[in-house]
């Protein structure tokens, strides 16, 4: 087990656990703006996971799309429609 390999495991552990927590919060949140912020957090965590999986190309594309464009797109949709999810 080299140093790099251990580090990779630590990073994947942190990133995927964060992603799990954020996805759960996105699922249960009724306020859609909060859900969008949680999903942005999930995107940051996945960006770290892509780095740990040695895919800088994907990290570039995914961070631009996941953190920036997805959240902006969803907020635009909320601004045209409604903010709270019904029970």
């Amino acid at each position: 087990m080299t140093v790099e390999y251990t580090l990779q495991h630590i990073l994947l552990l942190v990133a995927l656990t964060l992603a799990l927590i954020f996805t759960y919060k996105t699922l249960v949140e009724r306020d859609l703006i909060e859900a969008i912020v949680y999903s942005a957090g999930q995107a940051v965590a996945y960006g770290l996971a892509f780095i740990a999986l040695m895919a800088p190309d994907l990290a570039l594309a995914y961070i631009a799309v996941g953190v920036g464009i997805y959240s902006a797109l969803f907020i635009i949709v909320v601004s045209h429609t409604e903010r709270y999810e019904k029970e």
């Binding site: 800088p56 190309d57 990290a59 570039l60 594309a61 631009a64 799309v65 920036g68 464009i69 902006a72 797109l73 635009i76 045209h80």
Partner: protein, 272 residues
Amino acid sequence: MVKLKDVCIGLSLAVVAAIVSYLIISYNIASVAPEANRPLANMFLENVFNSEKWWLWAGSPEAVTSILWDYRGIDTVYETAVFFLAIIASIALVRTLKLTPETSGRGFGLTVIAKTVTNIVFASIPIVAYSIAVHGHLTPGGGFQGGSAFAVAPLLAISVFSLRVIVMRGWSKDRLLALRTTGLLLIGLIAIIVVALSALKGIIAYVMQNQPKPWAPAGLSAIVDFINPTLISGTLFWLNISEFLAVGAGLSLVFVLLVSPTKMLDVEVEEK
């Protein structure tokens, strides 16, 4: 307040996930796959920049971009077509929408501090995206990455300066459509330019061919003589730039349409 139903669903999800991952691990499907599982990856990695095997190389140290635009080039052209279909479908939903400075909101924007800093950032994002795109065959990056990075610039400008300012600066639907179509046409042109040139000489060549092969000795050269020997990897460089244009302009177009004021969209709905 935890309901029984939620607990049941959560538990069953966890159990199924555990079983599936146990199966994946115990049958050696993914995590600890042996070397025998990746001859294709080794082939790509060994030959992508190997000038000794010039009939297999792509002339680029970046395996991802070379596979994207050379080994699987036609596939990527079709993927780009899918991308444009999705964008055209989005535009078709609001096809009668006409954005003029009068109809595009009141133009408030945010505070002067945000506007000044966003001026700098708005000018810098395109140059960073451009850098990502033109170095696509040398370092991680490429047309798709650069294009999606560029699309953030109009998004930022729309929220900070307001849509009205953007429309007054000339970001009209027609211009962005023209830019996007130019990118697409350039991809098509580069795809057939090698075939066209070699047809004039009477040599066989493939569509999307990058480097020459023994049975099809046509193709753009990977290293050109520009002051120093400069690596531009044949068609990869040009394809990256055109994809950058196409993706960036296409996404900008959709976002400019998407933030158009709510009452404009209402008119759209009533006309249907």
